[in-house]
Protein backbone atom coordinates (compact mmCIF):
# COMPACT_ATOMS: atom_id res chain seq x y z
CA UNK A 1 0.00 0.00 0.00
CA UNK A 2 1.29 3.44 -0.96
CA UNK A 3 1.74 5.84 1.86
CA UNK A 4 -1.24 8.13 2.12
CA UNK A 5 -0.36 11.80 2.50
CA UNK A 6 -3.52 12.78 4.32
CA UNK A 7 -2.52 16.41 4.81
CA UNK A 8 -1.78 16.91 1.16
CA UNK A 9 -5.08 15.34 0.10
CA UNK A 10 -7.04 17.38 2.61
CA UNK A 11 -5.38 20.59 1.41
CA UNK A 12 -6.23 19.68 -2.15
CA UNK A 13 -9.87 19.16 -1.16
CA UNK A 14 -9.97 22.59 0.48
CA UNK A 15 -8.48 24.14 -2.64
CA UNK A 16 -11.09 22.40 -4.78
CA UNK A 17 -13.78 23.93 -2.56
CA UNK A 18 -12.17 27.36 -2.86
CA UNK A 19 -12.13 27.25 -6.65
CA UNK A 20 -15.70 25.99 -6.70
CA UNK A 21 -16.74 28.91 -4.56
CA UNK A 22 -14.84 31.35 -6.79
CA UNK A 23 -16.62 30.04 -9.87
CA UNK A 24 -20.10 30.08 -8.38
CA UNK A 25 -19.60 33.46 -6.73
CA UNK A 26 -18.49 35.00 -10.01
CA UNK A 27 -21.95 34.20 -11.33
CA UNK A 28 -23.88 34.77 -8.11
CA UNK A 29 -25.39 31.32 -7.78
CA UNK A 30 -25.00 27.73 -8.87
CA UNK A 31 -25.05 24.07 -7.91
CA UNK A 32 -23.03 24.46 -4.75
CA UNK A 33 -24.28 21.68 -2.45
CA UNK A 34 -23.63 18.80 -4.83
CA UNK A 35 -20.27 20.25 -5.87
CA UNK A 36 -19.03 20.48 -2.29
CA UNK A 37 -20.05 16.93 -1.37
CA UNK A 38 -17.64 15.45 -3.94
CA UNK A 39 -14.63 17.73 -3.32
CA UNK A 40 -12.90 15.09 -1.18
CA UNK A 41 -13.34 12.23 -3.61
CA UNK A 42 -12.10 14.45 -6.45
CA UNK A 43 -9.04 15.31 -4.35
CA UNK A 44 -8.21 11.65 -3.79
CA UNK A 45 -8.95 10.64 -7.38
CA UNK A 46 -6.85 13.36 -9.00
CA UNK A 47 -4.38 13.73 -6.13
CA UNK A 48 -3.48 10.08 -5.85
CA UNK A 49 -5.48 7.50 -7.73
CA UNK A 50 -5.87 8.51 -11.35
CA UNK A 51 -3.19 8.56 -14.02
CA UNK A 52 -3.78 11.69 -16.05
CA UNK A 53 -1.58 14.24 -17.77
CA UNK A 54 -2.57 17.93 -17.70
CA UNK A 55 -0.31 18.48 -20.73
CA UNK A 56 -2.02 15.76 -22.70
CA UNK A 57 -5.64 15.60 -21.59
CA UNK A 58 -6.67 13.41 -24.51
CA UNK A 59 -4.03 10.70 -23.89
CA UNK A 60 -5.99 7.52 -24.73
CA UNK A 61 -4.48 5.39 -21.97
CA UNK A 62 -5.30 7.83 -19.17
CA UNK A 63 -7.75 7.00 -16.42
CA UNK A 64 -11.09 8.63 -17.02
CA UNK A 65 -13.67 10.40 -14.89
CA UNK A 66 -17.34 10.57 -15.69
CA UNK A 67 -19.12 12.98 -13.37
CA UNK A 68 -22.56 11.73 -14.24
CA UNK A 69 -24.15 14.24 -11.88
CA UNK A 70 -23.01 16.81 -14.42
CA UNK A 71 -24.31 19.76 -12.41
CA UNK A 72 -21.26 19.34 -10.14
CA UNK A 73 -19.21 20.76 -13.02
CA UNK A 74 -17.83 23.62 -10.89
CA UNK A 75 -16.07 21.13 -8.57
CA UNK A 76 -14.61 19.27 -11.54
CA UNK A 77 -13.43 22.53 -13.14
CA UNK A 78 -11.82 23.63 -9.89
CA UNK A 79 -10.00 20.30 -9.67
CA UNK A 80 -8.76 20.65 -13.24
CA UNK A 81 -7.72 24.28 -12.66
CA UNK A 82 -5.77 23.32 -9.55
CA UNK A 83 -3.89 20.75 -11.64
CA UNK A 84 -3.18 23.11 -14.53
CA UNK A 85 -5.52 21.60 -17.13
CA UNK A 86 -7.04 25.07 -17.41
CA UNK A 87 -5.90 28.45 -16.01
CA UNK A 88 -7.19 29.07 -12.49
CA UNK A 89 -8.52 32.50 -13.44
CA UNK A 90 -10.75 30.84 -16.03
CA UNK A 91 -12.96 29.53 -13.22
CA UNK A 92 -14.55 32.96 -13.17
CA UNK A 93 -15.92 32.44 -16.68
CA UNK A 94 -18.41 29.83 -15.45
CA UNK A 95 -21.56 30.08 -17.57
CA UNK A 96 -20.45 33.33 -19.24
CA UNK A 97 -21.23 33.75 -22.93
CA UNK A 98 -18.83 31.63 -24.97
CA UNK A 99 -17.31 29.97 -21.87
CA UNK A 100 -15.39 26.68 -21.83
CA UNK A 101 -16.97 26.01 -18.43
CA UNK A 102 -20.71 25.47 -18.76
CA UNK A 103 -22.78 24.55 -15.70
CA UNK A 104 -22.83 20.91 -16.82
CA UNK A 105 -19.69 19.00 -17.84
CA UNK A 106 -18.94 19.07 -21.57
CA UNK A 107 -16.15 16.96 -23.10
CA UNK A 108 -16.04 19.17 -26.19
CA UNK A 109 -15.45 22.35 -24.24
CA UNK A 110 -13.18 21.74 -21.26
CA UNK A 111 -9.69 20.19 -21.46
CA UNK A 112 -9.65 17.31 -18.97
CA UNK A 113 -13.38 16.69 -18.94
CA UNK A 114 -13.71 13.15 -20.23
CA UNK A 115 -17.44 12.98 -20.82
CA UNK A 116 -20.45 15.19 -21.45
CA UNK A 117 -23.15 14.90 -18.78
CA UNK A 118 -26.07 16.89 -17.40
CA UNK A 119 -29.03 14.75 -18.28
CA UNK A 120 -28.93 12.63 -15.14
CA UNK A 121 -28.41 8.91 -15.58
CA UNK A 122 -26.73 9.00 -18.97
CA UNK A 123 -23.16 9.14 -17.67
CA UNK A 124 -23.52 5.65 -16.21
CA UNK A 125 -23.91 3.86 -19.53
CA UNK A 126 -21.27 6.09 -21.10
CA UNK A 127 -18.83 5.10 -18.37
CA UNK A 128 -19.62 1.43 -18.89
CA UNK A 129 -18.92 1.86 -22.58
CA UNK A 130 -15.67 3.68 -21.90
CA UNK A 131 -14.48 0.97 -19.53
CA UNK A 132 -15.41 -1.71 -22.03
CA UNK A 133 -13.58 0.23 -24.75
CA UNK A 134 -10.42 0.44 -22.68
CA UNK A 135 -10.56 -3.27 -22.05
CA UNK A 136 -11.12 -4.09 -25.72
CA UNK A 137 -8.15 -1.88 -26.62
CA UNK A 138 -6.01 -3.69 -24.07
CA UNK A 139 -5.38 -0.58 -21.97
CA UNK A 140 -4.85 -0.80 -18.24
CA UNK A 141 -6.89 2.41 -17.82
CA UNK A 142 -9.75 2.65 -15.39
CA UNK A 143 -12.96 4.65 -15.45
CA UNK A 144 -14.29 6.36 -12.34
CA UNK A 145 -17.98 7.17 -12.34
CA UNK A 146 -19.54 9.65 -9.90
CA UNK A 147 -23.31 9.17 -9.59
CA UNK A 148 -25.74 11.19 -7.47
CA UNK A 149 -28.12 9.45 -5.09
CA UNK A 150 -31.04 11.36 -6.58
CA UNK A 151 -29.67 10.49 -9.98
CA UNK A 152 -29.91 6.82 -9.08
CA UNK A 153 -33.71 7.20 -9.32
CA UNK A 154 -33.18 6.86 -13.07
CA UNK A 155 -33.75 3.37 -14.43
CA UNK A 156 -30.88 3.76 -16.87
CA UNK A 157 -28.47 3.81 -13.94
CA UNK A 158 -29.46 0.28 -13.01
CA UNK A 159 -29.38 -0.91 -16.61
CA UNK A 160 -25.79 0.31 -16.76
CA UNK A 161 -24.93 -1.42 -13.49
CA UNK A 162 -26.44 -4.71 -14.70
CA UNK A 163 -24.39 -4.38 -17.85
CA UNK A 164 -21.16 -3.58 -16.03
CA UNK A 165 -21.50 -6.61 -13.78
CA UNK A 166 -22.55 -8.90 -16.64
CA UNK A 167 -19.49 -7.86 -18.64
CA UNK A 168 -17.23 -8.14 -15.56
CA UNK A 169 -15.97 -4.56 -15.91
CA UNK A 170 -13.55 -4.52 -13.00
CA UNK A 171 -11.90 -1.45 -14.53
CA UNK A 172 -15.04 0.51 -13.64
CA UNK A 173 -15.34 2.11 -10.21
CA UNK A 174 -18.73 3.57 -9.29
CA UNK A 175 -18.66 6.30 -6.65
CA UNK A 176 -22.18 6.87 -5.40
CA UNK A 177 -22.52 10.25 -3.72
CA UNK A 178 -24.92 9.36 -0.94
CA UNK A 179 -25.55 12.91 0.29
CA UNK A 180 -29.18 12.10 1.12
CA UNK A 181 -30.59 15.07 -0.70
CA UNK A 182 -31.72 15.89 -4.20
CA UNK A 183 -33.42 18.93 -5.72
CA UNK A 184 -36.77 18.71 -3.91
CA UNK A 185 -35.15 17.97 -0.54
CA UNK A 186 -34.35 14.73 1.26
CA UNK A 187 -34.09 11.69 -0.95
CA UNK A 188 -36.05 9.71 1.64
CA UNK A 189 -39.00 12.06 1.10
CA UNK A 190 -38.76 12.14 -2.69
CA UNK A 191 -38.03 8.51 -3.60
CA UNK A 192 -36.26 6.40 -0.96
CA UNK A 193 -33.64 4.18 -2.59
CA UNK A 194 -33.12 1.77 0.27
CA UNK A 195 -29.83 0.09 1.12
CA UNK A 196 -27.26 0.89 -1.55
CA UNK A 197 -24.74 -1.65 -0.31
CA UNK A 198 -27.31 -4.43 -0.56
CA UNK A 199 -28.45 -3.16 -3.93
CA UNK A 200 -24.97 -3.00 -5.45
CA UNK A 201 -24.07 -6.39 -4.04
CA UNK A 202 -27.24 -7.84 -5.52
CA UNK A 203 -26.27 -6.29 -8.86
CA UNK A 204 -22.92 -8.11 -8.74
CA UNK A 205 -20.56 -5.36 -7.56
CA UNK A 206 -17.71 -5.49 -5.09
CA UNK A 207 -19.13 -2.92 -2.68
CA UNK A 208 -17.92 -0.91 0.30
CA UNK A 209 -19.27 2.11 2.15
CA UNK A 210 -16.97 4.87 3.43
CA UNK A 211 -17.13 8.34 4.91
CA UNK A 212 -17.05 10.16 1.60
CA UNK A 213 -15.78 13.38 3.15
CA UNK A 214 -12.76 11.64 4.70
CA UNK A 215 -9.79 11.49 2.35
CA UNK A 216 -8.03 8.72 4.23
CA UNK A 217 -10.99 6.35 4.06
CA UNK A 218 -11.47 7.28 0.43
CA UNK A 219 -7.81 6.62 -0.40
CA UNK A 220 -7.91 3.18 1.18
CA UNK A 221 -11.15 2.21 -0.51
CA UNK A 222 -9.88 3.40 -3.88
CA UNK A 223 -6.58 1.58 -3.48
CA UNK A 224 -8.52 -1.67 -3.08
CA UNK A 225 -10.08 -1.18 -6.49
CA UNK A 226 -6.68 -1.50 -8.20
CA UNK A 227 -6.68 -5.25 -7.82
CA UNK A 228 -8.87 -6.09 -10.82
CA UNK A 229 -10.85 -9.32 -10.55
CA UNK A 230 -14.11 -10.05 -12.25
CA UNK A 231 -16.51 -7.57 -10.67
CA UNK A 232 -17.01 -3.84 -11.07
CA UNK A 233 -16.43 -1.83 -7.89
CA UNK A 234 -18.87 0.35 -6.01
CA UNK A 235 -17.93 2.73 -3.23
CA UNK A 236 -20.86 4.27 -1.41
CA UNK A 237 -19.76 7.74 -0.33
CA UNK A 238 -21.53 8.71 2.88
CA UNK A 239 -21.33 12.47 2.39
CA UNK A 240 -22.94 15.72 3.39
CA UNK A 241 -24.43 17.90 0.66
CA UNK A 242 -22.55 21.16 1.17
CA UNK A 243 -19.66 19.56 3.09
CA UNK A 244 -16.80 21.88 4.04
CA UNK A 245 -18.86 25.05 4.46
CA UNK A 246 -21.05 24.58 7.56
CA UNK A 247 -23.66 27.21 6.70
CA UNK A 248 -24.25 25.61 3.29
CA UNK A 249 -24.34 22.10 4.72
CA UNK A 250 -26.93 23.18 7.31
CA UNK A 251 -29.21 24.63 4.65
CA UNK A 252 -31.40 21.73 3.55
CA UNK A 253 -32.29 23.29 0.20
CA UNK A 254 -28.73 23.90 -0.94
CA UNK A 255 -28.98 22.35 -4.39
CA UNK A 256 -28.88 25.68 -6.16
CA UNK A 257 -27.37 28.25 -3.85
CA UNK A 258 -26.80 31.99 -3.95
CA UNK A 259 -23.27 33.16 -3.16
CA UNK A 260 -23.30 36.94 -2.76
CA UNK A 261 -20.23 38.99 -1.79
CA UNK A 262 -20.88 38.69 1.93
CA UNK A 263 -21.26 34.91 1.83
CA UNK A 264 -18.25 34.64 -0.44
CA UNK A 265 -16.05 36.55 2.00
CA UNK A 266 -17.20 34.56 5.01
CA UNK A 267 -17.05 31.14 3.34
CA UNK A 268 -13.67 31.87 1.81
CA UNK A 269 -12.33 32.95 5.20
CA UNK A 270 -13.50 29.64 6.65
CA UNK A 271 -11.76 27.67 3.91
CA UNK A 272 -8.58 29.73 4.28
CA UNK A 273 -8.58 28.92 7.99
CA UNK A 274 -8.84 25.21 7.15
CA UNK A 275 -5.92 25.55 4.79
CA UNK A 276 -3.88 27.47 7.35
CA UNK A 277 -4.44 24.70 9.88
CA UNK A 278 -3.28 22.06 7.39
CA UNK A 279 -0.38 23.85 5.78
CA UNK A 280 0.69 26.17 8.58
Amino acid sequence: MDEINVKKLRSFAVRIRMGTLEAIHSLGSGHLGGSLSIADVLAVLYGREMKVDPKNPGWPERDKLVCSKGHAGPAVYSTLANLGFIPYEELKTLNRPGTRLPSHCDRNKTPGVDMTTGSLGQGTSLAAGMALGDRLRGYSSRTFLIVGDGESNEGQVWEAFSFAAAKKLSNLVVLLDWNKRQLDGYTDDVLPMGDYVAKFNAFGFDTVKVDGNNVEELAKALERTRQGGDKPYAIILDTVKGAGIPEVAETVMNHSYTVDDDRFRRYMAGLEAQLQELEG
Binding site: T99, G150, N153, L183, G185, L191
Partner: protein, 321 residues
Protein backbone atom coordinates in the same frame (compact mmCIF):
# COMPACT_ATOMS: atom_id res chain seq x y z
CA UNK B 1 -63.34 36.90 -22.83
CA UNK B 2 -60.13 37.67 -24.59
CA UNK B 3 -58.40 41.00 -24.41
CA UNK B 4 -55.08 41.86 -26.01
CA UNK B 5 -53.05 44.07 -23.77
CA UNK B 6 -49.64 44.31 -25.36
CA UNK B 7 -47.46 47.30 -24.51
CA UNK B 8 -44.08 45.59 -24.59
CA UNK B 9 -43.91 45.61 -20.78
CA UNK B 10 -42.98 42.51 -18.81
CA UNK B 11 -45.75 40.73 -16.93
CA UNK B 12 -45.43 41.01 -13.15
CA UNK B 13 -46.35 37.32 -12.78
CA UNK B 14 -43.66 34.74 -13.45
CA UNK B 15 -44.85 31.66 -15.32
CA UNK B 16 -43.59 29.42 -12.54
CA UNK B 17 -45.91 31.24 -10.16
CA UNK B 18 -48.80 30.62 -12.53
CA UNK B 19 -47.98 26.91 -12.55
CA UNK B 20 -47.59 26.87 -8.77
CA UNK B 21 -51.06 28.42 -8.34
CA UNK B 22 -52.98 26.86 -11.23
CA UNK B 23 -52.05 23.21 -10.75
CA UNK B 24 -53.39 23.12 -7.15
CA UNK B 25 -56.51 25.04 -8.24
CA UNK B 26 -57.25 22.55 -11.00
CA UNK B 27 -56.75 19.66 -8.60
CA UNK B 28 -59.04 21.25 -6.04
CA UNK B 29 -61.75 21.76 -8.64
CA UNK B 30 -61.64 18.22 -10.04
CA UNK B 31 -60.89 15.14 -7.91
CA UNK B 32 -59.56 13.29 -10.97
CA UNK B 33 -56.78 15.77 -11.62
CA UNK B 34 -53.48 14.44 -10.32
CA UNK B 35 -50.08 16.10 -10.55
CA UNK B 36 -46.81 14.25 -11.07
CA UNK B 37 -43.32 15.69 -10.99
CA UNK B 38 -39.76 14.38 -11.29
CA UNK B 39 -37.88 16.12 -8.47
CA UNK B 40 -38.61 19.60 -9.81
CA UNK B 41 -41.54 20.69 -7.65
CA UNK B 42 -39.42 23.40 -6.10
CA UNK B 43 -38.74 24.82 -9.52
CA UNK B 44 -42.42 25.67 -10.11
CA UNK B 45 -43.55 26.35 -6.57
CA UNK B 46 -45.79 23.32 -6.07
CA UNK B 47 -43.74 21.65 -3.31
CA UNK B 48 -45.60 23.09 -0.34
CA UNK B 49 -49.05 22.24 -1.66
CA UNK B 50 -47.79 18.80 -2.72
CA UNK B 51 -46.51 18.03 0.76
CA UNK B 52 -49.96 18.79 2.17
CA UNK B 53 -51.75 16.73 -0.49
CA UNK B 54 -49.81 13.52 -1.00
CA UNK B 55 -52.74 11.85 -2.79
CA UNK B 56 -52.99 14.60 -5.36
CA UNK B 57 -49.32 15.29 -6.03
CA UNK B 58 -46.82 12.51 -6.67
CA UNK B 59 -43.08 13.10 -6.68
CA UNK B 60 -41.70 10.33 -8.90
CA UNK B 61 -38.07 11.22 -8.32
CA UNK B 62 -35.63 11.72 -11.16
CA UNK B 63 -37.19 9.07 -13.37
CA UNK B 64 -39.08 10.76 -16.18
CA UNK B 65 -39.81 7.75 -18.35
CA UNK B 66 -41.29 5.95 -15.37
CA UNK B 67 -43.27 9.07 -14.44
CA UNK B 68 -44.89 9.24 -17.87
CA UNK B 69 -45.69 5.52 -17.74
CA UNK B 70 -47.24 5.90 -14.30
CA UNK B 71 -49.23 8.92 -15.48
CA UNK B 72 -50.56 6.92 -18.42
CA UNK B 73 -51.55 4.09 -16.08
CA UNK B 74 -53.39 6.59 -13.91
CA UNK B 75 -55.09 7.98 -17.02
CA UNK B 76 -56.39 4.49 -17.85
CA UNK B 77 -58.06 4.49 -14.42
CA UNK B 78 -59.88 7.73 -15.20
CA UNK B 79 -57.43 10.20 -13.71
CA UNK B 80 -56.38 13.36 -15.53
CA UNK B 81 -52.64 13.58 -14.97
CA UNK B 82 -50.67 16.80 -15.25
CA UNK B 83 -46.99 15.96 -15.54
CA UNK B 84 -44.11 18.40 -15.17
CA UNK B 85 -40.35 18.37 -15.71
CA UNK B 86 -37.88 20.44 -17.74
CA UNK B 87 -38.53 20.42 -21.50
CA UNK B 88 -35.81 18.00 -22.61
CA UNK B 89 -36.74 15.45 -19.98
CA UNK B 90 -40.45 15.94 -20.76
CA UNK B 91 -39.83 15.06 -24.40
CA UNK B 92 -36.64 13.24 -25.43
CA UNK B 93 -36.15 11.45 -22.15
CA UNK B 94 -39.55 9.74 -22.12
CA UNK B 95 -40.51 9.74 -25.78
CA UNK B 96 -41.35 6.09 -26.28
CA UNK B 97 -43.49 6.17 -23.14
CA UNK B 98 -45.29 9.29 -24.42
CA UNK B 99 -45.76 7.73 -27.81
CA UNK B 100 -46.89 4.23 -26.86
CA UNK B 101 -48.17 4.31 -23.28
CA UNK B 102 -49.73 7.70 -24.01
CA UNK B 103 -50.66 8.24 -27.64
CA UNK B 104 -50.96 4.72 -28.99
CA UNK B 105 -52.67 3.26 -25.91
CA UNK B 106 -55.06 6.26 -25.92
CA UNK B 107 -54.17 7.38 -22.43
CA UNK B 108 -54.69 11.13 -22.20
CA UNK B 109 -52.15 13.15 -20.27
CA UNK B 110 -51.03 16.77 -20.03
CA UNK B 111 -47.29 17.39 -19.99
CA UNK B 112 -45.68 20.70 -19.04
CA UNK B 113 -42.08 21.07 -20.24
CA UNK B 114 -40.46 24.08 -18.62
CA UNK B 115 -37.62 26.21 -19.98
CA UNK B 116 -37.87 25.40 -23.70
CA UNK B 117 -35.15 26.52 -26.08
CA UNK B 118 -33.10 29.53 -25.01
CA UNK B 119 -35.15 30.01 -21.84
CA UNK B 120 -33.03 27.19 -20.35
CA UNK B 121 -30.26 29.84 -20.06
CA UNK B 122 -27.76 28.87 -17.34
CA UNK B 123 -28.57 25.18 -17.47
CA UNK B 124 -26.98 25.11 -20.90
CA UNK B 125 -27.05 22.79 -23.90
CA UNK B 126 -28.12 19.61 -22.12
CA UNK B 127 -31.24 21.36 -20.84
CA UNK B 128 -32.11 23.40 -23.94
CA UNK B 129 -34.67 21.64 -26.15
CA UNK B 130 -34.92 22.93 -29.70
CA UNK B 131 -36.63 19.70 -30.80
CA UNK B 132 -39.41 19.07 -28.27
CA UNK B 133 -42.09 20.48 -30.58
CA UNK B 134 -40.92 18.22 -33.41
CA UNK B 135 -41.16 15.16 -31.17
CA UNK B 136 -44.61 15.96 -29.84
CA UNK B 137 -45.96 16.92 -33.25
CA UNK B 138 -45.14 13.42 -34.44
CA UNK B 139 -47.47 11.75 -31.94
CA UNK B 140 -50.84 11.19 -33.65
CA UNK B 141 -53.66 13.09 -31.98
CA UNK B 142 -51.36 15.27 -29.91
CA UNK B 143 -51.80 18.91 -28.92
CA UNK B 144 -48.68 21.11 -28.89
CA UNK B 145 -48.64 24.57 -27.33
CA UNK B 146 -45.88 27.16 -26.97
CA UNK B 147 -47.32 29.52 -24.34
CA UNK B 148 -47.15 33.25 -25.04
CA UNK B 149 -47.48 34.75 -21.58
CA UNK B 150 -48.59 33.86 -18.04
CA UNK B 151 -52.22 34.73 -18.68
CA UNK B 152 -52.41 32.46 -21.67
CA UNK B 153 -50.58 29.74 -19.77
CA UNK B 154 -53.35 29.67 -17.19
CA UNK B 155 -56.02 29.49 -19.87
CA UNK B 156 -54.45 26.68 -21.91
CA UNK B 157 -53.61 24.63 -18.85
CA UNK B 158 -57.28 24.70 -17.80
CA UNK B 159 -58.35 23.64 -21.28
CA UNK B 160 -55.87 20.77 -21.44
CA UNK B 161 -57.23 18.95 -18.41
CA UNK B 162 -60.27 17.51 -20.20
CA UNK B 163 -58.88 17.46 -23.70
CA UNK B 164 -58.21 13.98 -25.13
CA UNK B 165 -54.78 12.86 -26.33
CA UNK B 166 -51.22 13.69 -25.37
CA UNK B 167 -50.99 17.42 -24.69
CA UNK B 168 -47.73 19.32 -24.39
CA UNK B 169 -47.29 22.86 -23.08
CA UNK B 170 -43.78 24.33 -23.32
CA UNK B 171 -43.16 27.44 -21.25
CA UNK B 172 -40.26 29.25 -19.58
CA UNK B 173 -40.44 29.71 -15.83
CA UNK B 174 -39.39 33.33 -15.84
CA UNK B 175 -40.76 36.64 -17.13
CA UNK B 176 -42.69 37.11 -20.34
CA UNK B 177 -44.06 40.28 -21.91
CA UNK B 178 -47.79 40.63 -21.28
CA UNK B 179 -49.78 39.95 -24.42
CA UNK B 180 -53.18 39.01 -22.99
CA UNK B 181 -55.12 40.63 -20.17
CA UNK B 182 -55.49 38.59 -16.97
CA UNK B 183 -58.49 36.30 -17.19
CA UNK B 184 -58.35 36.06 -20.98
CA UNK B 185 -59.47 32.85 -22.65
CA UNK B 186 -57.28 31.73 -25.52
CA UNK B 187 -59.05 28.78 -27.15
CA UNK B 188 -56.67 25.99 -28.13
CA UNK B 189 -56.41 25.69 -31.90
CA UNK B 190 -57.42 29.30 -32.64
CA UNK B 191 -54.80 31.70 -33.95
CA UNK B 192 -54.95 35.20 -32.50
CA UNK B 193 -54.33 38.23 -34.65
CA UNK B 194 -52.35 40.62 -32.50
CA UNK B 195 -51.69 43.22 -35.15
CA UNK B 196 -53.20 43.85 -38.56
CA UNK B 197 -50.95 44.37 -41.57
CA UNK B 198 -50.98 44.19 -45.35
CA UNK B 199 -47.44 43.68 -46.68
CA UNK B 200 -46.42 40.54 -44.80
CA UNK B 201 -47.55 38.36 -41.93
CA UNK B 202 -45.36 37.19 -39.05
CA UNK B 203 -46.50 33.96 -37.44
CA UNK B 204 -44.94 33.52 -34.01
CA UNK B 205 -45.17 31.42 -30.86
CA UNK B 206 -43.86 31.56 -27.30
CA UNK B 207 -41.17 34.14 -26.51
CA UNK B 208 -41.01 35.04 -30.20
CA UNK B 209 -44.42 36.70 -30.10
CA UNK B 210 -42.96 39.64 -28.18
CA UNK B 211 -40.04 39.81 -30.63
CA UNK B 212 -42.46 39.73 -33.56
CA UNK B 213 -44.47 42.64 -32.10
CA UNK B 214 -41.27 44.64 -31.65
CA UNK B 215 -40.22 43.81 -35.20
CA UNK B 216 -43.60 44.89 -36.59
CA UNK B 217 -43.31 48.22 -34.78
CA UNK B 218 -39.84 48.78 -36.17
CA UNK B 219 -41.00 47.84 -39.67
CA UNK B 220 -43.90 50.25 -39.45
CA UNK B 221 -41.43 53.08 -38.92
CA UNK B 222 -39.90 52.06 -42.25
CA UNK B 223 -43.27 52.05 -43.97
CA UNK B 224 -43.76 48.30 -43.97
CA UNK B 225 -47.06 47.00 -42.71
CA UNK B 226 -46.58 43.59 -41.03
CA UNK B 227 -49.35 41.64 -39.36
CA UNK B 228 -48.54 39.55 -36.30
CA UNK B 229 -50.45 36.36 -35.59
CA UNK B 230 -49.97 34.31 -32.44
CA UNK B 231 -49.82 30.64 -33.43
CA UNK B 232 -49.40 29.36 -29.88
CA UNK B 233 -51.20 26.15 -30.82
CA UNK B 234 -48.62 24.55 -33.09
CA UNK B 235 -50.79 21.45 -33.34
CA UNK B 236 -53.61 21.33 -34.29
CA UNK B 237 -52.59 24.31 -36.40
CA UNK B 238 -55.22 26.91 -37.30
CA UNK B 239 -54.76 26.21 -41.02
CA UNK B 240 -57.59 28.49 -41.99
CA UNK B 241 -55.97 31.49 -40.35
CA UNK B 242 -52.58 30.60 -41.84
CA UNK B 243 -53.97 30.35 -45.37
CA UNK B 244 -56.11 33.45 -45.07
CA UNK B 245 -53.20 35.60 -43.85
CA UNK B 246 -50.94 34.21 -46.56
CA UNK B 247 -53.55 35.12 -49.17
CA UNK B 248 -54.03 38.58 -47.71
CA UNK B 249 -50.36 39.48 -47.52
CA UNK B 250 -48.55 37.18 -49.93
CA UNK B 251 -45.45 37.01 -47.73
CA UNK B 252 -44.85 34.94 -44.60
CA UNK B 253 -42.27 34.95 -41.81
CA UNK B 254 -42.34 32.35 -39.04
CA UNK B 255 -40.57 32.97 -35.71
CA UNK B 256 -39.96 30.22 -33.17
CA UNK B 257 -37.68 29.35 -30.25
CA UNK B 258 -36.96 25.93 -31.78
CA UNK B 259 -34.97 24.19 -34.47
CA UNK B 260 -36.22 25.10 -37.95
CA UNK B 261 -36.68 21.38 -38.46
CA UNK B 262 -39.91 19.99 -37.14
CA UNK B 263 -41.40 23.04 -35.43
CA UNK B 264 -43.79 25.85 -36.30
CA UNK B 265 -42.03 26.70 -39.57
CA UNK B 266 -42.53 23.16 -40.82
CA UNK B 267 -46.14 23.17 -39.67
CA UNK B 268 -46.93 26.46 -41.44
CA UNK B 269 -45.07 25.73 -44.67
CA UNK B 270 -46.66 22.30 -44.86
CA UNK B 271 -50.09 23.90 -45.00
CA UNK B 272 -49.01 26.69 -47.34
CA UNK B 273 -47.22 24.43 -49.81
CA UNK B 274 -50.52 22.65 -50.37
CA UNK B 275 -53.01 25.49 -50.04
CA UNK B 276 -51.31 28.77 -50.84
CA UNK B 277 -47.64 28.71 -51.84
CA UNK B 278 -46.18 32.16 -51.11
CA UNK B 279 -42.60 33.27 -50.28
CA UNK B 280 -41.67 32.24 -46.71
CA UNK B 281 -38.75 32.86 -44.39
CA UNK B 282 -38.09 31.75 -40.86
CA UNK B 283 -36.42 32.95 -37.71
CA UNK B 284 -35.49 29.78 -35.87
CA UNK B 285 -32.47 27.86 -34.66
CA UNK B 286 -30.47 26.80 -37.69
CA UNK B 287 -29.99 23.13 -36.81
CA UNK B 288 -27.65 23.74 -33.89
CA UNK B 289 -27.32 22.50 -30.31
CA UNK B 290 -27.92 24.84 -27.39
CA UNK B 291 -25.30 26.38 -25.14
CA UNK B 292 -25.03 28.13 -21.81
CA UNK B 293 -25.58 31.85 -21.18
CA UNK B 294 -28.08 34.55 -20.31
CA UNK B 295 -31.23 34.64 -22.43
CA UNK B 296 -30.38 37.94 -24.13
CA UNK B 297 -27.05 36.54 -25.27
CA UNK B 298 -28.62 33.30 -26.45
CA UNK B 299 -31.35 35.05 -28.42
CA UNK B 300 -28.66 37.00 -30.29
CA UNK B 301 -26.45 33.94 -30.64
CA UNK B 302 -29.24 31.98 -32.33
CA UNK B 303 -30.81 34.92 -34.14
CA UNK B 304 -34.06 34.83 -32.19
CA UNK B 305 -34.48 38.60 -32.12
CA UNK B 306 -36.82 41.31 -33.33
CA UNK B 307 -34.02 42.64 -35.57
CA UNK B 308 -33.67 39.31 -37.29
CA UNK B 309 -37.44 39.04 -37.78
CA UNK B 310 -37.42 42.50 -39.36
CA UNK B 311 -34.55 41.48 -41.64
CA UNK B 312 -36.30 38.32 -42.70
CA UNK B 313 -39.47 40.26 -43.35
CA UNK B 314 -37.56 42.57 -45.68
CA UNK B 315 -35.99 39.53 -47.34
CA UNK B 316 -39.34 37.87 -47.94
CA UNK B 317 -40.75 41.12 -49.34
CA UNK B 318 -37.89 41.16 -51.88
CA UNK B 319 -38.98 37.70 -53.00
CA UNK B 320 -42.62 38.79 -53.21
CA UNK B 321 -41.83 41.52 -55.77
Amino acid sequence: MMKIEYTGAMDPRLCKAVLGETIPKLAEADPDVIYLDADLMNCIGTAKWAAAHPDRAINCGIAEANMVGVACGLASAGFKPIVHTFGPFASRRCYDQLFLSGGYARNSITVIGTDPGVTATMNGGTHMPFEDVALYRAIPGSTVIDATDPNMLESVLRQCVDRPGVKYIRVGRKQYATVYAPGSETPIGKAVTLREGSDAVIFAAGIMVHEAMQAAQALEAEGISAAVVDLFTIKPLDAEAVVSWAQKTGAVVVAENHNRNGGLYDAVTQVLSEECPVPCRCVAVEDEFGEVGPQGYLQKRFGLTAEHIAQQTCAVLERKK
